[in-house]
């Protein structure tokens, strides 16, 4: 992408002398810079500066009042790495991710196949599967909190069971996972559906002529053609799931769940910062989280690149 950007001016140079002169006078930092300036200003203020500030704060004992912080070196990091509650909450986020990502990927694929192959009323299926995604996280979570509440909830009632979804530590995270599947599968479903519709029809026709049955067509055409999109769905879901917060806190009334079982990493960080007022420590924990997210993102980029090189 950088190479194509660097050759932007090249064709213009080949034009007539006057045109080239005007264009080139208008180039240079002056113009390109002004195009990106508004965004870069916002980006610097609300992304880069907080990151730098977070790094600085993580070496201090800053509190929520925003005054009187002093430098304490690596103490926060030392404490964090030694903090079982931080590791527990990281474990909860990871556990959630491990449960959600495979489920959502498979479910999204199946739903997309279903919607793709039913010939009638396509918009209805799309609407039904995608609509939950349009609900605010807190609304979806409230609905499921109510569905899961023992006694008055319709979930147990409909299935004829009596599971303490929200109050038992072995079920609480599962309840959050179920809610998340319902709420967010629509997004991945749409990506799969778009990818399915993008597979050239002639591939299937050729395969049919060769006598391949439906199963073979799926294994040899559909699945390989969906490999890229699956990579994307998984990557997006991993990054989103690691940042679990909204659903879990709303379903647990802003608490950490039964025996802390649904306290996510984000929740722990915010509790440290905003409930215990330990902004310095919370910043250190945030930076650790940032590194984890960055490693995941970079790992994905690296995987993509090696795969691209392999296919080349």
């Amino acid at each position: 992408m950088t190479t194509s950007a660097q050759t932007v001016i090249a064709p213009a140079r080949a034009r007539t002398a006057t045109a080239t002169a005007t264009v080139r006078r208008k180039e240079g930092f002056q113009h390109g810079g002004w195009f990106v300036a508004p965004f870069v200003a916002l980006f610097a203020l609300f992304v880069i500066w907080p990151l730098l500030r977070g790094i600085w704060l993580s070496f201090t004992d800053a509190n929520i009042s925003g005054e009187g912080a002093s430098f304490i070196g690596l103490d926060n990091y030392r404490e964090a790495l030694d903090d079982p509650m931080m590791w527990d909450s990281l474990g909860h986020s990871a556990y959630f991710t491990l449960l959600v990502v495979p489920c959502i990927t498979v479910l999204a694929f199946l739903l997309a196949m279903l919607a793709h192959h039913i010939e009638r009323g396509k918009w209805i299926w799309r609407l039904c599967f995608f609509a939950p995604f349009l609900l605010p996280s807190t609304v979806a979570a409230n609905m499921w909190q109510w569905l899961f509440t023992q006694g008055i909830g319709l979930f147990n009632e409909t299935l004829g069971i009596d599971t303490p979804w929200l109050t038992d530590k072995s079920y609480a995270m599962l309840a959050v996972v179920i809610e998340t599947l319902w709420w967010t599968v629509g997004f991945s479903f749409l990506l799969y559906l778009a990818a399915l519709q993008g597979i050239p029809a002639h591939l299937y026709e050729a395969a049919k002529l060769d006598g391949a049955n439906a199963w073979h067509r799926m294994v040899h055409i559909t699945l390989p053609m969906l490999r890229t999109i699956t990579g994307l769905v998984v990557a997006l879901q991993v990054l989103a799931s690691l940042q679990l917060f909204d659903q879990a806190v709303v379903m647990m009334d802003f608490g950490p769940g039964p025996e802390l079982s649904t306290r996510s990493f984000v929740q722990y960080t915010l509790e440290q910062g905003f409930t215990s007022y330990r902004v310095g420590y919370a910043s250190a924990v945030s930076i650790i989280f940032f590194v984890i997210i960055a490693v995941v993102a970079l790992a994905r980029m690296w995987l993509l690149r090696t795969r691209e090189e392999a296919t080349r």
Binding site: D61, N63, I64, S65, G66, S70, T149, Q150, G151, I152, P164, L166, T167, D168, K169, D253, F254, G255, P256, P258, E259, L260, E271, F274, T275, S276, Y277, R278, V279, G280, Y281
Partner: protein, 449 residues
């Protein structure tokens, strides 16, 4: 397409443009629709954490106040109870956009950085609206005084109670001649009572509601029974942990036994079970209006003194003035007036089960006639409270850290003795930790007067 399409497009574009312009204009005004609508009058923003019966009573009292003082516009907001409330209040004060009046648990005041996040009350203004120090129990009043200034104006005392259904207990022969539950003085007697009650109760329900999954209730029950055993937390200088793991184990085993003996259905909604016929439930006194509203034949005593000594967990709601840089003038006076009004008209509040802090209310005939309030009013003399350190107080760090450990023992995922040891370890860590607001440990004074 033709002309109609063009017109429609124009219309859409104009509407869109207006929406964008309107949005930016509205955002630039910055106060929100409600404040815009009421800008002419003195406006008091009042944040509280009262829901359920408390919320209904508070709204009734506010409505009465509004009728009496039409010049003051009270904007009350009920935020999610517990830590989210304190987080919001602290962040609003830190961000210098706090409401004029707030509610806070008295135990939280010391750790809430009085002077920085809280402003002191103006005693002259309070006196002007009829509230004086003489109207309070000195001990209670003094809990709100820090560095000689009043930061919290107490509204009530609320306690954990043992609610019982008279209809079931009568059948089980557990009611005395006075129509109240027979006194219990040991764990053996207590489990006998439960056993008899179970035989008399409706099938399919639990015998007692214990909030076994709730870290707040479990913590409050723990504090109550640990205090009954005479347990302590720290030495006077707050330098050493004096927490007695053996006593704690006793308490944890006691709580756990309710589950192992099958008196509790973990996770079952306690209030609904009680209303449907479960003989007992342990709840805060704020459940009084719920059960009275359900027309139950019930009573309420302080938590049974099963370890030989009366003590039940108690906290107090109080009014505070969140820090505002420019506090003063009409809104500030209106905040004083509103708080004083509610404190003085606490009869309605007492109907919500709370014991009024304003003593003139306490001695009225109307209060003495309230049932079951008159059955547990003496609980205010046997208060079990958290230690007075910066990390304590309702849903504070202490409760947040130790509550889940109590739950893990009651629910059986940790052995009571192991849980007690973990509690002790955690207490040591907390005692050594510094209050982030002033960088001092509890021993160094850590923001406690």
């Amino acid at each position: 397409m033709g002309r109609p399409g063009l017109n429609r497009r124009h219309l859409l574009a104009t509407a869109g443009g207006l929406a964008v312009a309107g949005s930016f204009g509205f955002a630039a005004l910055g106060t929100g629709a409600d404040a815009l609508a009421s800008s002419a009058r003195t406006r008091v923003r009042y944040w509280n954490l009262f829901s359920g019966g408390d919320g209904a009573n508070m709204i009734a009292m506010l409505d009465a106040f509004r009728k009496e003082t039409p010049g003051i516009d009270v904007k009350d907001s009920t935020l999610q109870w517990g830590n989210p409330f304190y987080t919001k209040l602290a962040m609003a004060a830190a961000g210098n956009r706090a409401p004029e009046l707030g509610v806070m648990h008295l135990g939280r005041v010391a750790g809430f950085s009085p002077g920085r996040l809280l402003d002191p009350w103006d005693m002259d203004l309070l006196a002007k609206y009829g509230v004086r120090q003489e109207d309070y129990h000195p001990a209670l009043w003094n809990r709100g005084v820090i560095d000689g200034k009043l930061y919290a104006l107490p509204l009530d005392i609320h306690v954990q109670l043992c609610f019982y259904r008279k209809d079931v207990l009568r059948k089980a022969g557990l009611l005395g001649d006075d129509g109240r539950m027979i006194p219990v003085t040991s764990t053996t007697e207590w489990f006998d009572v439960l056993k008899k009650a179970r035989q008399a109760q409706k099938k399919g329900l639990q015998t007692i509601g214990l909030w076994t999954n709730d870290q707040n209730f479990q913590w409050w029950f723990f504090v109550a029974f640990y205090t009954q055993l005479g347990g302590t937390w720290f030495d006077d200088a707050n330098t050493d942990v004096t927490f007695d793991a053996d006593k704690a184990t006793q308490v944890l085993e006691f709580l756990r036994r309710h589950v192992t003996d099958g008196y509790v259905i973990p996770g079952a909604p306690t209030g609904e079970q009680f209303i449907n016929g479960a003989p007992f439930t342990w709840e805060g006194n704020w459940s009084v209006p719920v059960f009275s509203g359900a027309k139950l034949d019930y009573g309420a005593t302080p938590l049974p003194p099963v370890f030989g000594r009366q003590a039940t967990h108690a906290e107090s709601h109080s009014f505070v003035l969140p820090h505002q840089a420019g506090r003063g003038g009409a809104p500030n006076e209106a905040a004083h007036r509103l708080a004083a009004y509610i404190v003085r008209h606490a009869q309605q509040w007492a109907a919500g089960g709370h014991i009024p802090a304003y003593t003139p209310t306490l001695s009225t005939d109307a209060y003495k006639k309230l049932t079951p309030q008159n059955e547990y009013v003496q609980a205010m003399d046997h208060q079990a409270t958290e230690p007075k350190v910066w990390f304590a107080g309702s849903t504070g760090i202490l409760a947040q850290d130790l509550g889940p450990i109590v739950v893990s023992s009651t629910m059986g995922s940790a052995r009571p003795d192991a849980a007690a040891r973990r509690m002790k370890d955690r207490l040591a860590t907390l005692l050594a930790s510094k209050n982030p607001m002033d960088g001092q440990t509890a021993a160094q004074g850590g923001a406690v007067a």
